[in-house]
């Protein structure tokens, strides 16, 4: 169902939106200037809705119906270079096809925002949800934010521009295909005036201008090199260092922007993850995206059975909030990490990150990893409860770490 506001501005309103329309509304409210996208299930309604906004004249953007995702992101990077605010959206194979351009956008430090509607990657084909697509792109230099519900999608897209345009790192806003993209729920939509107050127009730092000709992304050599004035300039490695530094520093910026957003709209995003009853919890469930909501239901059930269970719902996966995770998990006896992805040959990606974060800290939690929900397999709260109960048994054995994850599947 498509809900299209005929109003140019107006007041904040509560609407029933699916995740894809929430993403499109977020882009529209952010006054994006260039949109380039290629259709793919389950992302297609995002591109359809945005093209509808443009054709109706509700959004004064250039909409480019490209022939591939590689081109979609190439359009965005070059439009961003000229000085336009850009948006694209994709899923799964589309994101994989963008891979080269993902590196390019981050390497060129362009504040592109991309909505990734999380979907499984083939072979074999699956159009259904897991997070293998965006997790596979974690090393491309993008900030990655995961939404738990449709409200977080629209809010995250708007915040993404403010973050990206101040740290000059592109942002990927990820949300679960079908579970969120095609599921309607009430969403509080801010008014255009409110968003305009929050998000100023994009001030680009790299403008291609004939009156001041510059050459961007030239070939670099292994070592720093002097320019025509004899000034020593960065080599490739220094430029890579600056990207890592920007990602490291973006954590603080994401928190500040999230807090500002909260002050204006009453929904704060100051934290890198959502905490549910962590204060007294000695058992913590970790999950990312919509699964973090299901985990709260599981925690309710486990609390009823007398266990002190909390939920850490990862929101920001890149930069990974190491010190926050240490603080949040420091008291836990058992951490059960559910991953909708698998780094083949090791374990789920979020589990690896959690373990990495806790290394050298005083945390002594038993950590168990479960691979769940690949290719759209439904994940029920009861299954999360069973997995935690199963892990409680291993808690008695006192084995902190296991070599490989367990899978909740028919094998």
């Amino acid at each position: 169902m498509i809900f299209v506001s005929r109003k140019k501005t107006g007041k904040a309103s509560t609407r029933i939106l699916d995740g894809n329309h929430a993403a499109a509304q977020g882009a529209k409210l952010s006054r994006v200037q260039v949109i380039a996208a290629y259709p793919i299930t389950p992302q297609s309604p995002v591109t359809e809705t945005l093209s509808e906004f443009v054709e109706r004249g509700e959004l004064g953007a250039q909409y480019i119906a490209v022939e591939s995702e590689h081109s979609a992101l190439a359009v965005c990077t070059s439009a961003s270079m000229v000085g336009a605010r850009t948006f694209t959206a994709t899923s799964a194979h589309g994101l994989a096809y963008m891979h080269e351009m993902l590196h390019w956008a981050a390497g060129a430090r362009l504040p592109v925002v991309l909505a990734c509607v999380n979907r499984a990657i083939g072979a074999p084909w699956s159009v259904l949800n897991d997070q293998q697509d965006s997790i596979s792109q974690r090393d491309t230099g993008w900030i990655q934010i995961y939404a738990r519900n449709n409200q977080e999608i629209v809010d995250s897209v708007i915040q993404a521009y403010k973050v990206a345009e101040s740290v000059y790192v592109p942002v990927m806003v990820c949300y679960d295909g079908f579970v969120l993209s095609h599921t309607e729920m009430p969403v509080r939509l801010p008014s255009q005036e409110e968003v305009d107050r929050f998000l100023p127009p994009y001030k680009p730092h790299t403008i291609l201008d004939p009156s001041n000709p510059k050459n961007y992304n030239l070939v670099t050599l292994a070592n720093p090199r002097v320019n025509a004035e004899g000034v020593l300039c960065h080599g490739y490695m220094e430029l890579r260092y600056l990207l890592q530094e920007a990602l490291q520093n973006s954590r603080e910026r994401i928190a500040v922007v999230g807090r500002e957003f909260g002050e204006l709209f009453g929904r704060s995003y100051a934290n890198m993850f959502w905490e549910d009853r962590l204060d007294d919890a000695d058992i913590v469930i970790v999950a990312m995206g919509s699964l973090a909501m299901e985990a709260i239901v599981a925690a309710d059930m486990l609390r009823e059975a007398g266990h002190k269970v909390g939920v850490l719902g990862l929101r920001v996966f890149r930069p990974f909030p190491k010190s926050d995770v240490v603080r949040a998990l420091g008291k836990a006896r058992l951490v059960v990490v559910f991953d909708k992805n698998i780094s083949y040959g090791i374990e789920g990606a979020t589990c690896s990150e959690i373990k990495s974060a806790l290394y050298g800290s005083s945390a002594r939690a038993v950590i168990r990893n479960f691979i769940v929900g690949l290719g759209g397999r439904d994940v029920k709260a009861r299954e999360l409860v069973d997995a935690v109960n199963k892990s409680l048994v291993s808690l008695k054995e006192g084995v902190l770490n296991k070599e490989y994850p367990e899978w909740i599947c028919a094998i």
Binding site: A36, S68, H70, A79, L208, P213, N227, C233
Partner: protein
Amino acid sequence: MPDQEYMMPGNRTCPGCALSLAYRHILKALEGQVIETVPASCLTVLHGMYPVTSVAIPCVNTPFASTAASATGLVAGLKALGKEGITVLAIAGDGGTHDIGIQALSAAAERQTDFLYICYDNEGYMNTGNQRSGSTPLGAISGTTPILGKQQNQKDITAIMEAHGIPYVATANASYPLDLYEKVRKAKTIRGTRFMHVFTPCSPGWLFPFTDTIRIGKLAVETGWVILYEVEDGILRFTSASETIARKGNLKPLREYLTEQGRFKNITEEQINELQGWINTRWKRYLDRAVNL
């Protein structure tokens, strides 16, 4: 032709580089009012190594497959910001056009993107050391056809682009800089997708002395390997030396062109005949279409 130079001396191209000659005149024709996008190619080398560049125009480098999409982004961004009067120029080699870039190029043309795309054609992946491309001729030795030479002839990229129904396509040749200059000047004034194919002989790749670049480029026209023409709104006109040759009706045998280049040292008689036949047919086809002969 303006005195102003946009390409500085002392760049990194090889001695006798036809690209550097063609590029100099292309930039003069655009008079600095241009934003350019370039994929990996010899032109990247010409542009120089960070933090020094040999060109005085704004330019963005973009991944190999994305040239025309990058140009689309530049056009869209300029339009979104209300900036007018700037030509968006995408310029790529034959590998970047005939092969890896053709999908993005075809789509940009189909969308009627308002930009000028120039393919400079040195008939191979010369920047990576002379591997065969979709433009390498039949019988030519290359890094990946090292013994037998290429077993297929090149594709006609200009005809492919013309089939997109774009308002302007033209061929040019670094050995005829005035013809090239005039065509870029004309392309600049036309709206929509404009495509130009610029023939740029490559001394180290084709194995001829670097002092002979201009002569090889001229031989290509004199033998009909290259036809200088333009198609404006479907109307084809011969230009420059091709027009003169067509009026006189005296194409030189292709053999004279082939024997000047080391890359054809293993070409067979059968292949030479096949190429000559291809040229004769194509020459007649274009002659029949031309309205100015």
